[in-house]
Amino acid sequence: MSAAFPTLSTSEALALLVERAHAMGLAPLSYRAGQTILSEGEINSSLYILLEGTAQLLKQTPDGRGTPVDLLGPGSLLGILSFWTGSPSFSDSVAASDLKLLVLDMKNFERGVAEDPAFARVTQQLLVANLSDRYRRVVGLNLKVAGLTKELENERNALREAVDDLQRTRNKLIHQEKLATMGQLLAGIAHEINNPSSALMKNVEHLTRELPALFAGTPEQAEMLEEGMRAPYLSSGEARDRLNALQKQYPELSRSLCRRLSRLPDSAMKGLSRTLNVRNETKAETLLRVFEVGTALQSIRIAEARMTRLVKSLKSYSRQEENEDQSVRLDDCIRDTLTVMNHRLKFYDLQLDLAELPKVSCRPGEINQILTNLLSNACEATPKGKTITVRTGAGDRDVWLEVEDRGHGIPEDLMEAIFRPNVTTKRGAGDFGLGLGLAISRDLALKHQGRLTARNVPEGGAVFRLSLPA
């Protein structure tokens, strides 16, 4: 039907409309810029056709201000919805410039449509043009919203990454701070233990010199003392066999006496069995007590040597504050770290395969830190009682050390990822549990112009290799 009418341009249509309205005795109304045409919520019974100028549509927001929602030009219809449906006006309409409007109430509109085909045709064209224009704008707005949403999403992702990045940096700093504090603590403890430990050592040396001299008058006792001071340790199985044999040999002796006698090496037992056979139990008891003084002294010496070694290792292990490169042997770093970590490593079968290596220039505190991390990971990956291997070697231009565990190995797709911060394959929380150990270790390796790499071995388990320039 519409195809039967030639479509007019907007200005032609408006000119025609003004002419037909004039014929009906209606004249356009003028509004000054800023004047309100329709208010939101108002009951409206007229259709406003914009002839000249522009009108602003405003929607009231909860804070009482109008938000501009649309700007309309000539040919636009105002109040369409409220005019036809009788519902309150949907938005404010305000003159954005001085403008002219044709105002049609229902009576005039119906009369024009019924009596003047040209009026009917032009109002119909304007209505259709307005509706299709509004529809196009809705589509356009939806596209714009989608674009904005996407943009917002991108910004949010960028923000999230920045926050994650900050979090990682923060964790790393905390971790480093923690290690530095621990290093200071270790050095402090080592120093505090060092003094009493030295005193202990000096006094034991004194006793070791003096006691044999004091017993010199009684050669049998002096000999038992010497025996005690060098008596080998017996495994608990051996000790039990000897205990049982002694109880059979001397059924009249108490079990606890037999236990004490079972510590005697054969050479010492010879002297004592003479006294036992002649039932001189007081003398046997005295000789046994002298022997035990000897073993006690030996025990103190062994324990003291262990303590001295530990203190020495603690001191060199925690030399983290020394930032200059030193010329050291990797073996020394390994020995220090193994001593400090003995409490964990004693649950595994530790294999050392250490080559003769030239000295390398490095910061030993940092190498120890890498080694501690690798060994600690190996302990977590390896079932107790299974093998952990520490190996060293030298290439043309580098020296390297490897730590091999007997865990499940590293999933191939994570082989590089495990060196990134916050990536962990451990299920439970470790000592720190931040997944930073390997990331920091690699950083330290790079600072030494070295490399830290990982690979799996066919036997199951992973090997981590630290190589340093020779």
Binding site: S235, R255, S256, H343, K384
Partner: protein, 165 residues
Amino acid sequence: MQQKLYMLCVEDEADVLDVVVRELSVLEDVFPIETAGSADEAREALKRIEADGDALGLIFCDHMMPGENGVELLVWMQSQPQWKPSRKVLLTGQAGLDATVKAVNEAGLSHYIAKPWDQDELVRVAREQLSRYVAERKLNPLPYLKHLVMDIVGDTLRASSASDT
């Protein structure tokens, strides 16, 4: 022959084990001592005690040992009818809270001694726990009386004599 009531000391460090045994040997004229360097050796010792028809009154056990740890051993003993009544003492410097909670809840831990310990305390705890064993098992206290704590076994004696009349 009178059933022997054993004490078993389990400790992986030989020199520490030596000292524990030396300090407990003041009770050995009544309560013989068995030693073990690991949980496996402890099981062998228990087998020997059982084979000889003897009983275990008390176990002193370290926690951190290569192989099976002390608490696991104690939990296992608690599941064995013949070792369930034995008094169980952890003698350790290294058991964390989790291990200790497990020992109390699942192994019926009787006492906890932290290293380094004091000889008087060690012997006192041993006498007390052995007395409780004798009392709970309603054993004739006479052969062991020398080292028992009268406050603990006295009550049981009175109770048992009261039920006799």
